[in-house]
């Protein structure tokens, strides 16, 4: 043991690869997740570049239609199951959540480590399948196509099942930690909104993920032993697969966006140096989103032959889920109002989120409207919409959160100028890429084809150039963060002057997080009452 263990940071404590691989420290596990998640982001990003490369002009340019189908499918699978879903909860949440409740660790540290290994197994399977040629079903794996074609569909199905397990274990750990491990003085309405977001996310992880699990099991049996329940030629029902799939995958978009909203609440308040406006409204709206999200899955199936009445109900409920999202946006705006806003890198991402998520959310209403959806279904409008939500929303918030907690995690400051340049380029590159897709889609360009009619050329050229700009932006962001590890300034305890508990311990924190259990004297947003040192 070290002579003075109480001030040794978790990074200095117990070094060596073996100690990392067997650690139960939530901070190290969070970093281990982060490395793999960013690696997956890179792979998914390269696949996206390949997709945009083919689409830079109509016709077959660089590779075959068949290869194109595999690329866009694997782009979706990698980005959704390996990157976005675990990104904020498993990497940042794991690191920050116990610190925010003042605990020494999550409730079940060994289970936490187990979830990482489960994730690794899922990741290896998915990448193995990718090297094996990948699949061309689209990330939705619709039957009966997916149960009949050649290729490693079963392997990917199994990977999705396993990755779901990892996600469930993370959610379970977070629910119990938030319920049982809060320090005295941290009440439900006195905890950072990040925790409300994580809690609502965990509810969905717990209740929705088992359904994709069983769906993948059924798909596996469908392929391996021909049980036929999704096969119309055997008296089965392919639409049942769609119901199962979307019963998970719609709530799953909230597994992806709620953590982003959770980060944004922290960013907006911290960098406005102002008490968050409408704490309870933001908190409750997270839970409302989690609950309503289970009742809207049919909006993915307006054109799949479900009953007209069902479609109307799903459409109505889809509008309903927009309300709590809008409540959040208005509360964030109200927080900004008359705040003393400082535009540091994390805040630039926070503001980008507000702008991009609002566009993503509003265009979702177009798609939730029955008659309009019949026109827009399976066009690039849908692609643009969900990239505005998932990328403009979640990924931007994730990168913002990463910059925000980076000093606490690694103990070094990144270069602020390059950080800002990166943030602005991400914003520009993103809009450059996806804004033209709204127009192309609205004019009828269908998604998932390697080619398109001449009239769509201008939008696709813009989109592809935007994608390359976005790629360059992320290279800058990545280099900036890596350089900070090499020659970054040492980070202080609380570089952003936040009142949240994770900034009260040393940077980087000790293994046990706090030398003594902190005494709670103020709330996380009491900028009106407390002067931050």
């Amino acid at each position: 043991m070290n002579a003075n263990p109480s001030t040794v940071s978790y990074l200095e404590d117990k070094k060596g690869i073996w100690n990392w691989l067997t650690t139960v420290d939530h901070k190290k596990i969070g970093l281990m997740y982060l490395v793999l998640i960013l690696g997956s982001f890179l792979v998914g990003g390269i696949l996206a570049m390949l997709v945009r490369l083919e689409l830079i002009s109509p016709g077959e340019d660089f590779y075959s239609a068949d290869t194109y189908n595999r690329f866009f499918t694997m782009h979706g699978v990698v980005m959704i199951f390996l990157f976005i879903i675990p990104s904020i909860p498993a990497a940042l949440g794991n690191f920050v959540l116990p610190l925010m409740v003042g605990a020494k660790d999550v409730a079940f540290p060994r289970l936490n480590l187990a979830s990482w290994y489960v994730y690794v197994v899922g990741l290896l399977l998915a990448f193995w399948a990718l090297l094996y040629g990948g699949v061309d079903t689209g990330w939705t794996f619709y039957t009966p196509y997916s149960s009949e074609i050649q290729g490693p569909v079963a392997m990917i199905g199994l990977a999705v099942f396993i990755l779901g397990f990892s996600s469930i274990l993370t959610g379970l750990n977070f629910i119990v930690t938030i319920h049982k491990l809060r320090l005295p003085g941290i009440t439900w309405f006195n905890m950072p909104l990040f925790l409300w977001g994580m809690y609502a996310t965990a509810i969905i992880q717990i209740l929705a993920t088992p359904v994709i699990g069983i769906t993948m099991v059924l798909l596996l049996f469908e392929r391996l032993s021909g049980i036929g329940i999704f096969d119309p030629s055997m008296g089965g029902d392919p639409v049942l697969f769609q119901h199962f799939f979307w019963f998970y995958s719609h709530p799953a978009v909230y597994i992806m966006i709620l953590p982003a909203m959770a980060i944004v609440s922290e960013l907006i308040s911290t960098f406005s140096h102002k008490k968050i406006f409408g704490y309870k409204a933001i908190a409750y709206s997270s839970v409302a989103i989690a609950l309503i999200s289970f009742l809207v899955w049919g909006h993915h199936m307006f054109t799949s032959g479900q009953s007209r009445f069902a479609a109307m109900v799903f459409s109505f409920l889809t509008f309903g889920v927009a309300i709590p999202s809008a409540i959040k946006v208005f509360n964030w705006l109200a927080t900004l109002y008359k705040g003393s806003i400082s535009l540091e890198t994390p805040m630039l991402y926070g503001l980008s989120f507000l702008f991009l998520f609002t566009i993503g959310g509003l265009t979702g209403l177009f798609l939730g409207t029955l008659a309009v959806d019949v026109h827009l279904h399976d066009t690039y409008f849908v692609v643009a919409h969900f990239h505005y939500v998932m990328f403009g929303g979640t990924v931007v918030a994730f990168i913002g959160g990463l910059h925000y907690w980076w000093p606490k995690m690694v103990g070094k400051m990144f270069n602020e100028t390059w950080g800002k340049i990166g943030a602005v380029l991400v914003f520009l590159g993103f809009n450059f890429t996806f804004m033209p897709q709204f127009i192309a889609g609205f004019r009828g360009m269908p998604r998932r084809y390697y080619t398109y009619g001449e009239e769509f050329t201008v939008y696709n050229v813009l989109s592809s150039l935007g994608a390359f700009l976005l790629g360059i932006a992320f290279v800058i962001v990545g280099i900036n963060l890596v350089m900070s590890l090499i020659n970054g300034k040492k980070a202080s305890k609380n570089p952003w002057k936040s009142l949240s508990l994770e900034w009260e311990t040393q940077t980087p924190p000790i293994t046990e997080n706090f030398e003594v259990d902190p005494v709670i004297t103020h709330g996380p947003y009491d900028y009106d009452k407390v002067e931050v040192q």
């Binding site: 469930i168 059924l218 036929g228």
Partner: protein, 211 residues
């Protein structure tokens, strides 16, 4: 508290640790219900689609064996509950006996299930494309057996996991790990076992007693 030697470093006391473990198990059980929920929904859809076939096909199941198995599982739920009570009272030996009884009953369940499966495999009453039997009137009788084997198969898999967990806590108990102060693993394994039993209580009428 005298029981502090079993409290992990990140909990403030034994009570917090026990409460956390129990909540964790309850949350996990929720996921199990949703997992089975998927197959139950498939059951509901196809029973509505093919009501006559479901009625005809269910007659191929052996109600006697199903009833015996239901009784076996209900008794096993009782024995595991008694086991938990014994360890709460600090009686390790009695607890071990009840845990052993639960494991034996679980194995009896699987043996009976094995005979049921063997009979169906022999007759060709199998899922999907393996279905070769032709004594059941109605459309697509193989769908019934797809659902039957999925539900009972996934359930049997959970019985196997239950047996492993019960064996693990029994061995730990024999080594003297548990006492009236610390028995959380016994308790949460018991919770899991009750759920596995409960799911069978739903499976049995849905499959064997279609009226």
């Amino acid at each position: 508290m005298s029981s502090s030697f079993h409290v992990a470093h990140h909990f403030s006391d034994a009570e917090q640790q026990r409460e956390s473990a129990k909540l964790g198990m309850w949350v996990f059980l929720l996921t199990e219900i949703l997992l089975f929920g998927g197959v139950f929904v498939a059951y509901a859809v196809f029973r509505v689609w093919y009501p006559d076939m479901f009625y005809n096909a269910h007659k191929a199941l052996d109600v006697t064996m199903g009833t015996v198995n239901t009784a076996v599982l209900i008794v096993s739920s009782l024995t595991v509950a008694l086991g938990i009570r014994e360890i709460q009272l600090g009686r390790q030996k009695q607890c071990t006996r009840y845990l052993l009884a639960t494991i034996v009953l679980a194995c009896v369940f699987l043996v009976i299930k094995y005979f049921e499966y063997a009979h169906k495999i022999h007759l060709g009453q199998l899922p999907g494309k393996f279905y070769t039997f032709d004594g059941i009137a109605g459309t697509n009788p193989h769908v019934f057996f797809s659902i039957y084997f999925l539900l009972t198969g996934i359930h049997a898999f959970h019985i196997l996991i239950g047996i492993s967990l019960l064996t693990w806590v029994m061995i730990k108990n024999m080594k003297g790990h548990f006492s009236a102060q610390y028995f959380t693993p016994v308790e949460i394994t018991g919770l899991y076992w009750h759920l596995v039993d409960l799911i069978w209580i739903f499976l049995f009428p849905l499959l064997y007693l279609i009226g």
